[in-house]
């Protein structure tokens, strides 16, 4: 939701980034204010997921120019875990399986690390168990998922729920959801979307990276951005997503091309 006098959470200017020497992001500008939900759409290979990973600090991506201020701090000065501690959260497109580590052990370790950073009290295993079970209800997750190994043998939908559960526990000020809707059936999509909606408030910002409009029926964005060749070439309201759904992306690129030529 767009609020009056909300503060800027993330401000990206002229971001260029490459992987293995190939430039993927080519001068990207992007601003998120608190309370806002942004959807980033665009064809395959336009750089959406790269942008999400660059924000989270993936070391395979090299930022070659541009700036990103996160709540006034230079994001690119921070290691991935420092970004997490500062309040950046990335829900992975493909959550990693960690055999040998119980989910509750991992969730508590992560939760307590971030609580310690914020000067809050850490929870012992029993306290945490109560706390996390409450959060799991939000995502209609069975408590069985606590004793299983992190994401091991989880279905696609279960992995995505586990990601949103982590977001619920860590309460980031910037939540980036990288294709959280991919691989979800309609029930799981509804549950995950409901969870995300419960987590949005006027103090945080959400960035949804998605291919499809259907997610946006459930999580209604304030802004829809179209990415193409490493840049945001069009920004509109939620109705832009519907237009993209019926017309595809080509017309946006053509419009952008024409605009560039007249300049």
């Amino acid at each position: 939701m767009i609020y009056q006098d909300s503060k800027v959470i993330l401000e990206v200017r002229g971001l260029c980034a490459s992987v293995n020497g190939v430039e993927i992001l080519k001068g990207l500008d992007f601003t998120v204010k608190s309370g806002e939900v942004h959807a980033i759409m665009g064809p395959n290979g336009s750089g959406k997921s790269t942008f999400a990973k660059v924000l989270a600090g993936h070391t395979a991506y090299e930022v070659t120019s541009g700036t990103a201020l996160f709540e006034g701090r230079d994001l690119f000065e921070l290691a991935p875990e420092e970004r997490a501690l500062a309040g950046v959260f990335l829900a992975f497109q493909y959550p990693i399986e960690v055999p040998g580590v119980a989910n509750n052990q991992f969730l508590r370790l992560s939760y307590n690390t971030i609580q310690a950073q914020r000067g809050n009290e850490e929870l012992d295993p029993l306290e945490f168990d109560d706390f996390v079970r409450e959060k799991m209800k939000l995502l209609e997750m069975s408590p069985d998922f606590l004793s299983r190994n992190v994401n091991e043998g989880f279905s696609g939908g279960e992995k995505k729920r586990n990601e949103i559960l982590q977001m619920a526990l860590l309460e980031p000020s910037l939540g980036i959801l990288d294709e959280t809707d991919s691989g979800l059936d309609i029930d799981a999509l509804r549950i995950v979307s409901h969870g995300v909606n419960q987590l949005t408030n006027k103090n945080n910002g959400i960035v949804l990276v998605t291919h499809y409009q259907r997610l946006l029926n459930y999580i209604v964005p304030d802004f829809v951005h179209v990415m193409e060749a490493g840049r945001i070439i069009k920004t509109g309201g939620k109705e832009l997503a519907l237009e993209l759904e019926t017309r595809g992306y080509d017309w946006v690129a053509a419009e952008h091309q024409a605009a560039m030529e007249t300049v």
């Binding site: 395979a60 875990e81 990693i96 040998g100 580590v101 370790l109 982590q166």
Partner: protein
């Protein structure tokens, strides 16, 4: 002082000096044992120490061992229960303890009721002569195995477990071998017989009385000793044995062990072996399956500094309908060197064999080294077999995932390394031991990162 000296390829009889130093063993009341010892001594005349020119020892150079002097323990170090209680495993109320290879009755808690025997060999030699004669030295043969021959030449005592027909013991049995003296060669021996339809869990555990290297808070002196163990396990039809083997010798020790497991029809053998200690360690495990027998043979090697740890296994499907599963993992830090050689043999006629073998290796440093060789030899035509090996470092995507949840790079790496090892440790069906080893893995991995 007796010496195991050798030139590069030692001549026959390199152990003679050691053997002549041994006080003449009293004749055993069992003729079989006297015969075995005599045969073994003779065999040592012919056998030579392996070198890296032997295919089976290609990656494992034991020349360090041959440069040192060892003598057998003549007097047992007298220990009180309080000295060693920290080695005890809560669930294992039955326990046999050997100190430098010599039986320590004051530390042991033997059992002999309902026909169940958990005792040292000397005690049950005459009462169970027939069954002992039927099995001892029959499974681990020493014709071409110099270390098995050496062990057998020293055969005086052993840990004996006999589980009678259809008897099942839910509580694990702890066979604890403690090394306390330097420059000692000890020759532990275990004989486990699970009769038809019986079930038992046996923990074979090699420890030192000083703290291993990764507990830096307690000062200690590391000493060199040489453990040369032989274990024979016999499962009669439909028997079930859980065998947990923990090798946590000191960092200067030499540990060589030969184990042969013989599975009767439709029997089930589950084994987890964990190798943590020793300067040079070598474990040979041979599992022979009769019709419809099943086994799971899992292992974890966790080594660092300049340790060398070698595991050779052979799972031999001699008859049809056998099932075997093997997962062997190595975590190698420092400039350590791990070796895994796992052979799956499917003999002619062993139709419908179902076998899966996997070797997974994690290198924690640029100087760490592993040689892994999974081998399938199939002589039957209707079988389902798969094997594979991976060698790698920690996956950077996994590290990033954990970092993105606020964990530092080192905590993330530590957790993933721990998890890699925990997959094997989790398979140990004894809760307190499992917990203890999880802690050990956690401490050792964190000290390296």
């Amino acid at each position: 002082m007796n010496t195991l000296t050798s030139i590069r390829r030692p001549p026959a009889g390199c152990f003679q000096t050691l053997l002549t130093g041994l006080p003449k063993l009293q004749a055993s009341p069992l003729p079989r044992i006297n015969a075995l010892r005599a045969e073994a001594v003779n065999r040592l005349d012919v056998l030579s120490l392996p070198s890296t020119r032997d295919e089976d020892w290609r990656f494992t150079d034991i020349s360090e061992l041959t440069k040192l002097s060892f003598s057998p323990a003549l007097n047992a170090t007298y220990l009180e229960s309080a000295d060693v209680a920290h080695f005890y495993i809560e669930e294992a109320t039955t326990r046999l303890v050997f100190v430098d290879g010599l039986y320590a009755p004051q530390l042991s808690n033997s059992a002999s009721n309902n026909g169940m025997v958990v005792s040292n060999l000397q005690t049950v030699l005459t009462t169970h002569a027939a069954v002992i004669e039927a099995h001892i030295g029959r499974h681990v043969t020493f014709n071409d195995n110099v270390f098995a021959a050496l062990n057998t030449a020293f055969l005086r005592d052993a840990a004996v477990v006999i589980v009678p027909r259809n008897e099942s013991d839910a509580t694990p049995i702890h066979l604890l071998f403690i090394a306390t003296q330097k420059e000692i060669v000890s020759t532990p021996r275990c004989l486990v017989i699970a009769e038809t339809g019986s079930a038992v869990t046996v923990i074979e555990d090699y420890v030192v009385l000083y703290q291993p290297a990764w507990h830096e808070e307690t000062p200690f002196t590391e000493e060199t000793h040489f453990t040369n163990a032989v274990t024979e396990i016999m499962l009669e039809d439909n028997a079930r044995v859980n065998h947990i083997r923990i090798q946590r010798e000191g960092s200067k020790a030499f540990h060589i062990a030969n184990c042969v497991v013989s599975l009767g029809r439709a029997s089930n053998y589950q084994s987890v072996s964990v190798a943590l200690g020793a300067q040079i360690a070598r474990y040979n495990l041979e599992v022979l399956l009769a019709e419809g027998a099943e086994c799971a043979v899992d292992g974890l090697t966790l080594i660092a500094t300049n340790q060398l740890s070698d595991t050779h296994t052979c799972i031999d499907h001699a008859q049809p309908h056998g099932v075997s599963r093997q997962l062997h993992k190595c975590i190698i830090g420092g400039s350590a060197h791990a070796v895994f050689n796992g052979k799956i043999m499917v003999r002619n006629g062993a139709q419908r064999t179902d076998s899966i073998q996997s070797s997974r290796n994690l290198l924690l440093s640029g100087k760490a080294h592993v040689d892994t060789k999974p081998q399938l030899e199939i002589f039957a035509d209707d079988v389902k077999c798969a094997h594979g090996a991976t060698i790698g470092q920690l996956d950077s995507e996994e590290v990033f995932y954990l970092q993105s949840r606020g964990l530092s790079d080192s905590v993330a790496r530590n957790l993933l390394t721990y998890a890699f090892g925990a997959e094997i440790i989790e398979r140990i069906p004894v809760a307190s031991l499992k917990h203890q080893l999880e802690q050990t893995v956690l401490e050792q991995t964190s000290s390296q990162l």
